[in-house]
């Protein structure tokens, strides 16, 4: 069994191993599996890998491994990869304070979807999301698995400053804002959990392939968790994947 792949040059020091041109959970888990397989092979000259929705970017040093050789290694690794090979990701339960100042779009979106506020929260927090990729900003997780009823287009004019920890919806995707900044996504909740903290031993919380569930908590609980985190305590721990 093997995975069909296009191996494309991105300059002389990188290849993009393209598995599809679509967003698809099965394709994305193949990307994660390919990254794990290549890490196991650990060819000389491999510098870093960037897993994205449907492709794995592989950076290498042609001075240590000529491109033709690296391309052959990538081809062999793809060929050896089972189409149903899955690397279990870690599972996160992320506390979420729905609505409020940060989740400012909650009421409007619930109304738009013909849901009660509670109905929206139930639907959003019942889903299991997959971290498709990290990008855009440090530790920013693009989440797939948003229930179709909650799909919402982005704003035509982005907001200038959306808070760190804001939980949002952009088209068919969900996200957790890792740093404050401009964003055109719609925001329904806030989490005290820091997806990015440069002072932490592990600065980036999420990895591509992890899964995320949101657990509704009250504003008071959110504030208490935030205070504990500020004292240096870990307020979430992932479960190993299965």
């Amino acid at each position: 069994m093997s995975v069909p792949a296009r191996i494309l040059r991105c300059g002389e020091q990188a290849f993009s191993v393209e598995l599809s041109d679509q967003i698809d959970e099965a394709v994305n888990s193949q990307v994660t599996a390919l990254a794990a397989a290549l890490e196991a092979v650990s060819p000389v000259g491999l510098l870093e890998m960037v897993p994205t929705y449907r492709a794995l970017l592989v950076r290498f040093d042609p001075g240590l491994c000529p491109g033709a050789e690296m391309q052959a290694i990538l081809r062999r690794t793809c060929d050896a990869l089972g189409a149903d090979q899955v690397v279990p990701g870690r599972r996160w339960q992320i506390p979420a304070v729905y609505g409020g100042e940060v989740g400012l779009d909650l009421e409007d979106l619930a109304r738009e979807k013909g849901l009660s506020r509670q109905g929206f929260v139930d639907t959003h927090s019942a889903a299991i999301y997959r971290v498709y990729m990290i990008g855009f900003s440090p530790g920013f997780a693009y989440l797939g698995g948003l229930p179709e009823v909650l799909h919402t287009p982005r704003l035509a004019i982005p907001r200038q400053n959306v808070a760190e920890g804001a939980i949002g919806i952009g088209g068919q995707q969900a996200n957790i804002n890792s740093v404050a900044g401009p964003s055109g996504w719609r925001y329904v909740a806030w989490t005290p959990v820091k997806a990015f903290d440069p002072s932490r031993a592990d600065p980036f919380l999420f990895r591509a392939g992890d899964s995320v569930e949101f657990v509704p908590v009250s504003a008071e609980e959110g504030a208490a968790l935030s205070a504990r985190q500020a004292e240096g305590q870990a307020i979430v721990t992932p479960e190993a994947g299965s």
Partner: protein, 340 residues
């Protein structure tokens, strides 16, 4: 011991070798736009090659130290003076407390460097002192420098005066070589042909993230939206406007625009140094040629750095010369044409 910024250009930052290996977490490497010029400056003051120094664009500014220091300024056509007396770029300089180091506009490029013996000692973030402006990481509060800033310095080792005897690569208008792809198949053959034959210019919109290129727009037959994939420095994205954008050291790590080609590493610094308005062409090369060019560039960088030599005793100290006004103008920055 501190470096005081009295005045500086619009895009001056603290940079070291950058953060490698974090693109998968959304963080591009930052670090110097012109690594050779940056490493040359560090070598001239006895620092490790990737010690933290100041990068500036267009113009350096005015600086002062609170204790005697060795400094060096590099960059295409850098003009440097100490207390109004012209001194050499691409050479070790002695700066006494109270003296004012002035770095004028770069006459032949865009990016220049000021290294100080001991390096800049701002706290590392994610293992590096490099400023990442977009995410406000590293350097001094993650931002560009401004008048009034005071930068902590490390302890520098004693070093004899050195001078670069081999020039930095010329910032010529020779074609900028590219490897086509990864999404060149999004463009019709005639558009690809035009991309490789027409004259391009770097627009005024160039910063550490990207250089926007002016020229006839390059429409994509398959649309300008792709499912986001990974990017590398040098990637030429073509958004809906059809105006290409070349990603630089702080470029985003993933993007949703088709990438028509990638500027090869051996020519990316030259493209960034060309600066706004200079005409150039893109030229397609093979992967083998691009790899050979990379290895040749590394060799040239090594040769340039190895050609930094101690100034022999019989050569008079340039500052002393200027001070005694023996041969006024000998060390004028225009003299640097012979060494860079």
């Amino acid at each position: 011991m501190n470096l005081e910024v009295l005045e500086t250009g619009p895009l001056s930052t603290v940079q070291d070798g950058g953060r490698l290996g974090l693109r998968g977490f959304g963080v591009s490497e930052a670090g110097p736009v012109d690594r050779t010029a940056f490493q040359m400056a560090n070598r001239l003051v006895g620092n490790a090659p990737d010690a933290a120094a100041i990068e500036f664009a267009y113009v350096g500014g005015r600086f002062r130290v609170t204790r005697a220091a060795t400094v060096a300024v590099t960059g295409p056509g850098a003009s440097v003076s100490i207390d109004g007396q012209p001194v050499k770029a691409q050479a070790t300089l002695r700066l006494e407390p109270g003296q004012e180091l002035r770095i004028g506009a770069l006459s032949k490029g865009l990016w220049g460097y000021l290294a100080i013996g001991g390096g800049i000692d701002t706290p590392p973030v994610l293992g590096s002192r490099a400023t990442h402006l977009r995410f406000s990481l590293g350097g001094l509060e993650g931002r560009t420098l401004r008048a009034g800033d005071c930068l902590p310095l490390g302890d520098g080792a004693e070093i004899a005066n050195h001078v670069a005897t081999r020039a930095l690569p010329d910032v010529t208008a020779a074609p900028i070589r590219v490897l086509l792809g990864p999404q060149d198949d999004f463009f019709a053959p005639d558009v690809l042909a035009r991309f490789l034959s027409q004259e391009h210019r770097v627009s005024a919109r160039i910063d550490r993230m990207a250089a926007q290129i002016d020229g006839t727009p390059l429409p994509a037959i398959r649309g300008h939206d792709i499912v986001s994939d990974g990017t590398v420095p040098g990637a030429i994205q073509v958004p809906g406007s059809g105006q290409p954008l070349v990603l630089l050291v702080e470029g985003q790590t993933s993007g949703g625009y088709p990438k028509i080609a990638t500027v090869i590493a051996a020519d990316l610094t030259r493209l960034a140094q060309l600066g706004p308005g200079k005409p150039f062409q893109f030229q397609a090369v093979t992967a083998e040629e691009a790899e050979a060019a990379l290895l040749a560039m590394r060799q040239e960088t090594r040769a340039i750095l190895d050609a930094i030599q101690e100034v022999q005793d019989f050569r008079p100290d340039p500052q002393k010369l200027m001070g005694e006004n023996l041969i006024s103008g000998v060390w004028h920055p225009n003299m640097d044409q012979d060494v860079g």
